[in-house]
């Protein structure tokens, strides 16, 4: 090194240096040398060009060749994409509405869907975990050897949840997994199986029949088990601040995440829970209930204009989006103002959604046939 370097945190710098010097292996395996020399024996050497003018000519030739390759590639890409559009394998868009505009499909093979800041993660029915960007373009997929029952992303939250690009998968017969797409690695939490997973208070919370497991999100170790008689594995959960909200067939309960102590039970049933505008929102049949997390009292109760059961709920804070069951008016996406609980838009859907996600400023729907649709607010 050329001289002493100054750091904001000299102790951390010293600690990092000491760790690296001790953690690195002292010697490379001999087999790498053998492999390298085997390949070296087979590999032709790069030719050197003797005259000074030739490297320049070589560079120009390489530039021309590269330009030609790019041109051919772009042209082929345009032709291929035109042909794909003409095949028309994607589902037809639903009837346009003034509230949400159908942008296009993102997949026809979805089983589970969750948002991750401006993109989404999908588990397909073929058992692939696929990142999808807001334009509906799928990234590199990963084959799963099990069938997850729920997935959730860190949604941009840093710290213990692993940061952007981290997704969590849970299944009744496989240990809870955290997939960090930045390093392409899965980490499992031993003895943690369940049906649903939520993140909050530096922990992952896994729902099982009669109990909820708290898992240290950084270490991936089981921290504690909260006994909840009557709780079903598929019942919704939500963490807001230091409270874990869980719903079961008879109502909604609030638990302190540190002590596990219980607050007052709220009699409303819920099949979905989200937090928006300082309230915990519960979907209770065709009604939306806003609960004050401080007092645990119901602050707002609103009936949906569709008068059909809510089957999916998601929010980015400014609008709560609901997917409703078909009923007599057909399935729809309903936008609700979290300040009042009143519906501000209703968009008919061609097929009923089984879950929805907010991806950037878009609302994505997943239907029972596996179709993922993308909708954007605006006329």
């Amino acid at each position: 090194m050329n001289g002493p370097e100054s750091y904001d945190d000299p102790a951390l710098a010293a600690r990092t240096r000491a760790w690296m010097q001790s953690a690195a292996p002292v010697a490379a395996p001999e087999r790498i040398v053998f492999s390298i020399m085997d390949e070296v024996d087979r590999l032709p050497r790069q030719r050197r060009l003797g005259r000074p003018a030739l490297p320049l000519l070589g560079g120009v030739a390489r530039y021309a060749a590269l330009t030609l390759v790019i041109t051919i590639g772009v042209t082929a890409g345009i032709l291929v994409s035109r042909n794909l559009e003409s095949v028309g394998g994607s589902p037809p868009p639903p009837t346009p509405t003034p509230s949400l505009r159908f942008l296009g499909p993102a997949s026809g093979d979805g089983a589970l869907l969750t948002s991750d800041q401006g993109s989404a993660w999908l588990v397909t029915r073929e058992g692939q975990l696929v990142p999808i960007d807001s334009d509906g373009a799928a990234g590199e997929s990963i084959s799963l050897t099990f069938t997850p029952s729920d997935l959730i992303s860190s949604n941009g939250s840093s710290g213990a949840y692993g940061g952007p690009g981290t997704v969590w998968l849970v299944a009744p017969d496989t240990n809870l997994l955290r997939f960090d797409s930045a390093v392409g690695e899965f980490v499992a939490a031993r003895d943690v199986t369940g049906a649903r997973v939520v993140l909050g208070a530096d922990a992952a919370w896994v729902s099982r029949p009669g109990e909820v497991l708290k898992v240290n999100a950084g270490f991936m170790t089981l921290v504690s088990t909260l006994a909840l008689p009557g709780h079903r594995a598929e019942d919704p959960m939500l963490v807001v601040g230091n409270s874990l909200w869980v719903a079961d067939a008879s109502g909604i309960e609030r638990l302190d995440v540190s002590s596990g102590s219980r607050g007052t039970r709220i009699a409303n049933m819920a099949n979905e829970l989200v937090a928006a505008n300082g309230l915990v929102w519960a979907a209770a049949g065709p009604n939306l209930v806003g609960i004050d997390p401080g007092s645990g009292l119901v602050a707002i109760t609103a009936a949906l204009p569709t008068a059909t059961d809510i089957v999916g709920m998601a929010t980015h804070g400014n609008v709560i989006w609901l997917a409703t069951a078909p009923g007599s008016r057909g399935p729809s996406l309903v936008g609700v103002d979290p300040a009042t609980g009143q519906a501000i838009s209703v968009t008919p859907l061609s097929t009923p959604a089984i879950s929805i996600a907010v991806v950037g400023n878009q609302v994505w729907t997943l239907d029972a046939a596996g179709n993922v649709g993308r909708y954007e607010p605006g006329s």
Binding site: M1, N2, E5, D8, D9, L12, R15, W19, M20, Q21, A23, A24, P25, A28, I32, V33, S35, I36, M37, E39, V40, D41, L43, R45, Q46, R48, E140, I142, S143, L144, S158, G159, A160, G162, G163, N175, L177, D180, A182, V183, G184, F186, V187, A188, A189, R190, A201, D202, A203, N216, A217, G218, F219, M220, T221, V223, S224, V257, S258, G260
Partner: protein
């Protein structure tokens, strides 16, 4: 340098002289044995192929380090494509038991490092393991010295943030009820 002229025994001697440090750096950057081996192998094979083009033999080691960083970036990117099957790691606690260590500072740094981007890990490894100054790192990464210094600053900041998050999570769990 005989290796430049195509003398394979000379090149093997060069490989043996440099491979341990390259492998150590790759292991720290990639945090994966197989990927590190692949990165080192592709670095040295490429070095053999391109060695005749190296004008200054004294710059062989910096040149190798530059090739290694590129190879590690490539491996980090390819890693996702290679995951045809879910490769489940042992839980962190198991790995610690296996090495008869407790949740001490040694593994906190390792886990925190693993959560950083490949670019942040690379700059920390170049500086703290290979002992390169920001100016030297700039040469390896083809960036200005100021950029290298700034990246080092941000990489350390990201490491600190990650360590603090782990510490917070540990404290909360210590106060939880079972």
């Amino acid at each position: 340098m005989a290796a430049r002229a195509g003398d394979t025994p000379s090149f093997e001697r060069l490989v043996r002289r440099h491979i341990d440090r390259l492998y150590g750096a790759a292991r720290l950057m990639l945090r994966d044995v197989d990927l590190a081996e692949d990165a080192v192998q592709s670095t040295l094979v490429r070095a053999w192929r391109d060695l005749p083009g190296l004008r200054d033999p004294d710059k062989f080691e910096p040149w190798l380090q530059k090739l290694l960083v590129r190879a590690c970036y490539d491996e980090a990117r390819r890693k996702r494509r290679w995951l045809g099957e879910v490769r489940v790691l042992q839980p962190v606690a198991d790995r610690l038991e296996a090495t008869e260590r407790t949740l001490g500072e040694r593994d906190e740094i390792g886990r925190a490092l693993q959560a950083l981007t490949p670019e942040h890990r690379a700059i920390l490894v170049l500086h703290f393991y290979l002992d390169l100054s920001p100016t030297e790192i700039a040469g390896r990464l083809n960036v200005p010295a100021g950029t290298a210094r700034s990246r080092l600053h941000y990489a350390l900041g990201a490491l600190r943030a990650r360590l603090e998050a782990q510490e917070r999570a540990g404290r909360r769990d210590a106060g939880s009820v079972a």
